[in-house]
Structure formats: structure tokens, C-alpha cells
């Protein structure tokens, strides 16, 4: 059974004068999923979202919602609703009037409006606030009202423009879970744009990493984390130690290289078909490195060595160590496990480190 994707973009492009904001982007979002577009500022994600909403006209390409092209449909007639970055709740109306705005435009009668408004407010956990002014709500509650205002219209696709940016850390963490729950509760397709990778990874079924107007990779959070296709994705999603190196041998995707500082490494080709003698960039995640006090514990790992601790950056569960590789003198960021045995680690101590070759991603040099 082929389900028509709720949203499909075919070769969408947008240029402003001589600046190409979005280049030939194609993707489909299956029904009822949470799709995020992740990228740094200026990568074009906001432009893309606004094109889907109808506030920008694509220079080329097609936009289909539930299989029908909506290129010529003005924003007030499209079956998409958008939650704006600063929510855009109407201050001149109370909460009920805000949520009921779309229904009023459709000519629904007053009693039905009230019923639907009350119902959707209940669903977002804000029963009974319809008569209150918008200013009486907290940041998180305003979020929910903004979503309710869109959801009461039962859109095919809900667009969210970095809605969590203005919230403080704890609230943001809480809202991530809430948004995911709301999405499954309403079973509507969500398209979410953000520059914060933890938001994208935690909430989404699929994530597209966008840079300079193109999608570098589309996949699940796991795919992006464990198998990034390009150096940009490897560097943008999660933390990474980067090294430049030269390839010594290459066979069936397994490579051995020597870094510019002289350390031999074994790694895997990230699918770019790198050959012998080429210069490459190597990515190693801090959390992929195991540290130990004795050499025996890291003996089975493909890449290993010995280092002295330069710095302990204690940050609770996110603690990191800065190590100095004794062989090459290069600095290495390593995650500090909190299982207890490294609690007394101090600068100057010696540790052994090691990691698996298939967690060593290798990309052709010269990519961002």
C-alpha cells in the first residue's frame, strides 16, 4: 500500500537576486510522522518552511500536499498551519478568540466554535482558559495555545518555526517531550525546523540536515549519528574530534591512514569511495572513546594509545576530558563516564584510550 506522503517537495529552489537560498531540494514526509529540518542559521530552512506555508514563491520546483500541487494556492487557503517563531498570538483577543480565529474565517457558527475551541484546549491540557487574556499565560502554555490554534483547523501538515528558542533550558527539555506527545496524540504530520540538534534528534522520526540550501542527509536520528554521509553532518550532529590524514591502504571500505601528526588510524569509508594516497578528514566522537587505567582493557580496540590528562571539564553527565596523546602530542576530547571509577582523575594522570574502527568515519578532505 503506497501512502501518498502528506507533504512532498520536488526540486524546490529559491533564489533572491543572485543568492540561492534553497537549491533543488526534494523530499517526502510520510503521513503522521514528525519530520525535522536541522541546520545552522542561514542554511535556508526558514525560507523552505515559508515556501511550504505560502509566504514565499519557489523559483522552481513543485510542492504537493496529499498529492495535489499547492503552488498556486495562497497561504490562507492551504491545508497547512504554522506555529511562528514568536508564536504570533493575537494580543487584541483573548485565548478563546485566538484559538477560534480560523474557525471564524470558515464561517462556523458560534456554538460549534465554542465547542471545538474548548475541546482542543482540553486536548493540549489547558481546559478552561478560553476567557483569559493571552498575557496571563506562561511561555510553555502560550506554546500550547499556538499549537491548539492551528490544530483546531485539522491541517494536513503543521509547520513549526523554531518554537522553543525563547524558552529557558528546563522548559525546553519539557516541551520537547510534550511536542512529541502532542504529535502522536493528534497524529498530524509535523514539519519542524531548528538549529538545535538535540531538539531534532529527540523528537523526530526523520531528520534532514540542511546546509547552504541543500539537504546533506535525510534519515533517522540514529542514522545521522552513527553513519553521517558527509563531513558537515558528522561535525554538526553531535560532537567530534577531527583529524586530517593520508590514506595508506583501502580495501572494501576499510581504510588505514596516518594522521598529519603521525598517528596510525583504522577507519571506515563513509561511502565516498576514498582511494589510496588521498587526503581525508577523520571524525571520532568523544563518547565513542573508551578510557581505562590499564592497557589490557583497551587492547581489543582497533585504535588505541596512551595519553596524559590535560584538563577535566566537569559538567555532571556531560563531563569531558582533554587528553594529550603521548605519541603525537595532539589534543583529544573524550567523554568522561560517571560510573565512578574515574571520579578522582586529575590533570597529569595517565590513561589508556581506544575506540572501534567502525566508529571512525572518514571523509574526503575539503568539505565543510
Amino acid at each position: 500500500m503506497t501512502d501518498t506522503p502528506d507533504l512532498e517537495c520536488r526540486a524546490i529552489s529559491k533564489s533572491f537576486d543572485d543568492f540561492q537560498a534553497v537549491r533543488d531540494v526534494s523530499f517526502g514526509v510520510p503521513k503522521g510522522t514528525f519530520f525535522s529540518i536541522l541546520g545552522p542559521s542561514g542554511c535556508g530552512k526558514t525560507t523552505l518552511l515559508r515556501m511550504i506555508a505560502g509566504f514565499q514563491k519557489p523559483s522552481a520546483g513543485d510542492l504537493l500536499i496529499k498529492g495535489r500541487s499547492v503552488l498556486d494556492v495562497p497561504p490562507n487557503k492551504r491545508p497547512v498551519s504554522m506555529v511562528f517563531q514568536h508564536l504570533a498570538l493575537f494580543p487584541m483577543m483573548n485565548i478563546g478568540a485566538n484559538v477560534g480565529f480560523g474557525l471564524r474565517q470558515r464561517g462556523v457558527n458560534k456554538t460549534d466554535i465554542k465547542k471545538q475551541v474548548d475541546r482542543v484546549l482540553d486536548r493540549v491540557g489547558l481546559a478552561g482558559v478560553a476567557e483569559r487574556p493571552v498575557t496571563s499565560l506562561s511561555g510553555g502554555q502560550k506554546q500550547r495555545v499556538a499549537i491548539a490554534r492551528c490544530m483546531v483547523l485539522e491541517p494536513d501538515v503543521l509547520l513549526l518555526d523554531e518554537p522553543l528558542g525563547a524558552l529557558d533550558l528546563k522548559l525546553r527539555e519539557h516541551m520537547k517531550v510534550e511536542l512529541k506527545q502532542l504529535q502522536s496524540e493528534f497524529n498530524t504530520t509535523f514539519v519542524y525546523i531548528t538549529h538545535d540538534q538535540s531538539e531534532a534528534l529527540v523528537m523526530s522520526d526523520q531528520v534532514a540536515v540542511m546546509n547552504n540550501g541543500v539537504f546533506e542527509q535525510v534519515g533517522s536520528a540514529r542514522d545521522l549519528y552513527y553513519a553521517p554521509d558527509t563531513a558537515f553532518v558528522a561535525g554538526f550532529v553531535g560532537e567530534a574530534n577531527r583529524f586530517t590524514a593520508k590514506v595508506d591502504t583501502a580495501a572494501a571500505g576499510r581504510l588505514s591512514m596516518t594522521t598529519d601528526q603521525g598517528r596510525p588510524l583504522a577507519g571506515v569509508d563513509a561511502g565516498q569511495g576514498v582511494g589510496v594516497g588521498e587526503r581525508v578528514t577523520v571524525f571520532i566522537r568523544p563518547e565513542a572513546v573508551r578510557i581505562a587505567r590499564t592497557e589490557k582493557e583497551v587492547a581489543s580496540l582497533g585504535n588505541k594509545g596512551q595519553a596524559s590528562v590535560t584538563n577535566v571539564l566537569f559538567n555532571g553527565g556531560n563531563s569531558q576530558l582533554i587528553l594529550r596523546d603521548e605519541q603525537t602530542g595532539v589534543a583529544l576530547n573524550v567523554a568522561l563516564p560517571q560510573t565512578g571509577e574515574f571520579r578522582d582523575l586529575a590533570p597529569g594522570d595517565t590513561v589508556h584510550f581506544g575506540w572501534q574502527p567502525d566508529q571512525t568515519r572518514v571523509y574526503r578532505e575539503g568539505q565543510p
Binding site: G54, P75, H86, R104, R106
Partner: protein
């Protein structure tokens, strides 16, 4: 820094303010009221009473002129609002940067030039031997010179012209503060231009609308030059009556009574307007 020193400074700063307000505003108006209560009974003989006000109410000419002035001022206010709102909206929402400042400045320029010059310009345009009359004759639309001055329409054109700045500026200020994303959200939720105007734009702009209307009404009510020059001697404008009583008839008592009535109406409208819109005088004037 003794408290005596700062007390002295305080009173030094208060003095000009109090002198100004007392001598030039409060006492003169009180004096004007007192004078309005005096009726000239004979040479150098005065009687206290509301006789002057009685004259006003009994003489149809005075009462009608007053009503007419008020009515036309209201019409001028409404007209200015209707004409000015789209302009203010255009400047606030549909232009950016350089063109926005330029257009805004262009609205301000007629204000800096004296009202006399502005009205003079309209006289040249509208009178019998003026530009528009000649233009119509040249185009063959009329057979002889057309006198477009000395009627109510001319007064209206002049009043609207003079008041336009005071409507456009507060409107542009309030419309500017309307976040574009609110309008986009309105569209996104299915609104049409009309419903967005009605539910979002106008409620937001209401403070500007009210302060603009109050100011324009006041200015029109108290205007002397424009109605007299463009409406002629029979223009029946209340300020003209006041002037006559003072300068030609030398009946200061009646003139003062008229003045007080005008002041009363003007203040009443301001007060009602502020109350209706729930604004305070300080906030409105700041615009």
C-alpha cells in the same frame, strides 16, 4: 548636598513652571470666564450674569454657526481618517527603509510651512481666476470661469489638508508596532484581507486612530484661517464670530462667552474621546 540646597533648586525649577501656568494659562482663562459674565448695560456699566450666554442661545445665528462648525469639524475628522488610513498603512507596512522615511518626511513637509501659505495655495488653485478653473475651461469642460472657493467643499479640502499630518503620524506609529508575523498568522489560519483588517489591524491601531481623531477635531474646531479664507465672509465659522466680537464689535464680554463655549466643546470632545478609548492624556499627547 543639604536638603535645603535641593529644596532651593526644586523651587527654582518650579518657579518658571508655576509662573507660566498661572499667569498665562490659569488666570487668563479664569479672567475670560469672569468677563464673559459681564453684560454691557450702558456706557461703562456692567451687570453680572449669564446674559451673554443667553444671547448665544437665543440668537439663531450664533447657535447655528456653533453647531455647523462642530458638524463640519466632525466630517473633516472622518474624511481625514478615511483618506489618511490607507496612506498610513502603506507607509507603515508596505514600504521599507529609505522609501519609507522619504514618504514619511513628505507627509511632514506641508506641516512645517505656515498654514497661511497652504491656504494661499488652495486659493490660487480654486478661485475663479485660478488654476483649476482655467484648466477646466481649457479642457472645454466648462464654458466660463468657475468659482470653487467660498463654499463648504473648499473649506473641507482645506481642513483635511491641514489636518492630514496629525492623523497620519499617530497612525503610522501604531501601525508600525504591529508585528508582521501577526498578519501572516492571520493569513495562515485562513483569514482574508478584510477579516484581518477588521480583527487584527484596526483593533491594534485603535489608540492611534483615537488620538488622531481627537487632535484633528480640535484643530478643525479652533481653526480660523482656513475657513475664513476659503469660505469667505459668509463662511459661518465660530472662530470667525469670536474674532468679530473682539476686533470689530469690541464686545469683549460676548466674545469671551463665545470663547468659553468653544473651549467647553473642545474640551468635552477630548475628554469623551479619551474616556471612550480608555487612553490617558499623557499617552495620547506623547504621540
Amino acid at each position: 548636598m543639604t536638603s535645603n540646597r535641593s529644596k532651593l533648586t526644586f523651587w527654582l525649577l518650579m518657579a518658571p513652571l508655576l509662573l507660566w501656568l498661572l499667569l498665562l494659562i490659569i488666570l487668563p482663562h479664569v479672567g475670560m470666564f469672569i468677563v464673559s459674565l459681564r453684560e454691557k448695560v450702558g456706557v461703562r456699566e456692567y451687570e453680572t450674569g449669564f446674559a451673554n450666554y443667553a444671547v448665544f442661545f437665543n440668537e439663531p445665528l450664533y447657535w447655528n454657526t456653533f453647531a455647523r462648525t462642530a458638524y463640519m469639524s466632525i466630517s473633516a475628522t472622518v474624511l481625514t481618517l478615511l483618506i489618511g488610513f490607507p496612506i498610513a498603512y502603506y507607509i507603515a507596512k508596505l514600504t521599507r527603509g529609505r522609501s519609507k522615511t522619504t514618504l514619511f518626511l513628505m507627509c511632514l513637509i506641508p506641516f512645517w510651512v505656515s498654514e497661511l501659505v497652504r491656504t494661499f495655495g488652495w486659493m490660487i488653485l480654486l478661485r475663479e481666476t485660478g488654476v483649476i478653473s482655467n484648466l477646466l475651461q481649457d479642457l472645454g469642460l466648462v464654458s466660463g470661469p468657475v468659482e470653487m472657493l467660498y463654499n463648504d467643499a473648499a473649506i473641507m479640502i482645506g481642513l483635511v489638508y491641514t489636518s492630514m499630518l496629525f492623523m497620519v503620524v499617530p497612525l503610522v506609529t501604531t501601525l508600525d508596532s504591529l508585528d508582521d508575523s501577526l498578519i501572516e498568522a492571520g493569513y495562515d489560519l485562513g483569514g482574508s484581507s478584510v477579516s484581518i483588517l477588521r480583527e487584527i489591524v484596526i483593533p491594534h491601531a485603535l489608540p492611534g486612530i483615537v488620538s488622531g481623531c481627537i487632535v484633528v477635531f480640535m484643530l478643525s474646531l479652533g481653526n480660523y484661517l482656513t475657513p475664513i479664507l476659503l469660505g469667505g465672509k459668509d463662511s459661518l465659522w465660530f472662530t470667525g464670530l469670536i474674532y468679530n466680537q473682539f476686533i470689530t464689535r469690541f464686545n469683549w464680554e460676548l466674545g469671551s462667552a463665545f470663547g468659553f463655549l468653544l473651549l467647553g466643546l473642545s474640551s468635552l470632545i477630548v475628554f469623551v474621546g479619551l474616556k471612550l478609548s480608555g487612553q490617558s492624556l499623557t499617552r495620547t499627547m506623547a504621540q
